[in-house]
Structures are given as C-alpha cells and as structure tokens.
Symmetry: C2
Subunit: 155 residues, 2 copies
C-alpha cells in the first residue's frame, strides 16, 4: 500500500522504515502549512517570521521584550533578531527603545499599527486552521500533539 506522502513527492520506492516516513511527514507537513500561512499573510506584506514576532510582542503587552527574549520565544530559531526587528521598526509594526536601567538591552514593543494588522490577518489564519484541523477529532488531535512533543524530546 503506497502511502499518501510517497505519492505526494512521487517517490517510487517504499520507505525503508516507518521512522523515516514519520520524520519526512513532519517536514513535509510543515512545508505545506508554511506555504498556506504565507499565502494568507501575503496580502498584508507579512512573513511568517514577522507574524510570529508580532504575536510574541502582543503577548508581552506594554512592558515589551528585549531582543534575546523575543529570540527565545520564536517557533524557529532566528540568528539575526537585530535586523529583523529593525525592518519591522521601519514598517512601524514595532517600536524599539534602549533600556535606561541596563543600556545593553533594547526593549521592543508592538505598535498600534502592529496590533491592527494582527486583527486584520486573524480571519484568514483561522480559516487555514479550520480547513486543516477540522477533520481530526479532539482525541486524534491530542494524540498528534503528544506524538510531536515526543519527537522533539531528547538529544
């Protein structure tokens, strides 16, 4: 029985192991999701990375967060937070201010414009979520979440 994934990437030979298929499934699914995510964000000129930053800073509220703290909270690691935040400041999505107490820190905060854009993109993103998650029941959804967490653990 050829697997769904095998068909998607036009693989002629069966997977050598279920483990390999599982890892590839994760990578493939993330690529598909990221594609849909970027499509939904494109009309608002946002990348998935920038969207992630906005969500983080909205969660932080008026206190804001310094660059290192933002980096720690990103879904995928970004080795160049300085310029990422700089570009977002240019777009007026966030503001930056050097901390007076510890002048090494630069505190980033989401602007009103950033908040407004988050509200604008919300419907499209909820659509992406519902379209893909709907067909999985609550139980299978939780199993999926747990299985993925297990994959991330260890070495």
């Amino acid at each position: 029985m050829p697997s769904r994934l095998q068909d998607e990437i036009k693989q002629t030979k069966p997977f050598t192991s279920r483990g390999a298929e599982a890892l590839l499934s994760v990578l493939r699914t993330a690529a598909v999701l990221e594609h849909h995510l970027n499509e939904a964000l494109r009309p608002h000129a946002l990348t998935a990375t920038q969207y992630n930053v906005l969500r983080i800073l909205r969660g932080a509220g008026t206190n804001g967060l310094c660059g290192r703290e933002v980096a720690e909270r990103m879904v995928s690691r970004v080795p160049d937070v300085s310029r990422l935040l700089g570009r977002m400041e240019d777009m007026a999505l966030i503001s930056r201010e050097r901390d007076l107490a510890d002048r090494r820190h630069v505190t980033a905060r989401i602007t009103a414009r950033g908040l407004a854009i988050l509200d604008q993109v919300a419907p499209a993103l909820e659509g992406v979520e519902r379209a893909r998650v709907g067909r999985l029941g609550a139980e299978r959804l939780q199993d999926l979440i747990d299985g993925l967490a297990a994959l991330r653990e260890g070495g």
Copy 2:
C-alpha cells in the same frame, strides 16, 4: 496543565484552541528536526535541500531526472532549481546534460562522488532518526503519520 510546547517557546498564555496548538506543534517540530538534520550534514558541507536532491537522484538511477521532475519530488518547494543544481554540479555531486531528444530538458544525474557522500552521511542521519522515533511505538508512529497526512489534505 501547561503543554510541553508552551514551555518550549516560553508562552505565558494557554493556547486558544487545540487546533492552533497542533499547527504550531508541527512547525516547531519541523524546525527542531531540521536543526538536527543540518547539524548531522554540516561536517559534509551539505544542506538539507541538497541532501534531498541527492536522495531523489539516487532513486532515479542512471536515467536521471530533469529539473522540473526534481522540483516536484522535493519535500519543500524550491523556486530556483536551476541554480541549486548548478551549485551541486560545481561541487561535483551531480552532472547535467542537455537532452538531445527535447533540447529544453536538462537531465541531472548523481555522480559517484554524490553517491559516496550519501553513504558517508547515512549513519549520522540514522542516529537522528533512532534518537527521536525510538520512544514511539509502531502504533503511535502510524497514528502520527496518518494525522499529519490529514493535516496536509484539502485546499
């Protein structure tokens, strides 16, 4: 109960829905896997994308594949196959030859050096796989694969 993922990305507020957590889990897991994958490939100066191309071309055998066919088989879509293959040709990992029957096509084939490098990296990649997949039983593994496939389906 705070979820594992919530802790990983230092999120203070609980997820608004299981669906959102599931999508984020996929993206996060893929980022972690990709990181380990790249670490394993780094000593051989290969990126995950290049590794993917080598696997595809090894599977294709001596007939090789044209650029469009390689692109179709990639795990994540690459919009610049020409230069990707060009760089790999410079590294002598693949060879390219214009097809005489249809001169629009350029057939790519894996070289002996490319095959040798695939053999060299295999142990490290198997290590990555065993370390993460081992803790999941066969049944949970299959459920995970099926759940991910469900997420990829549909518009």
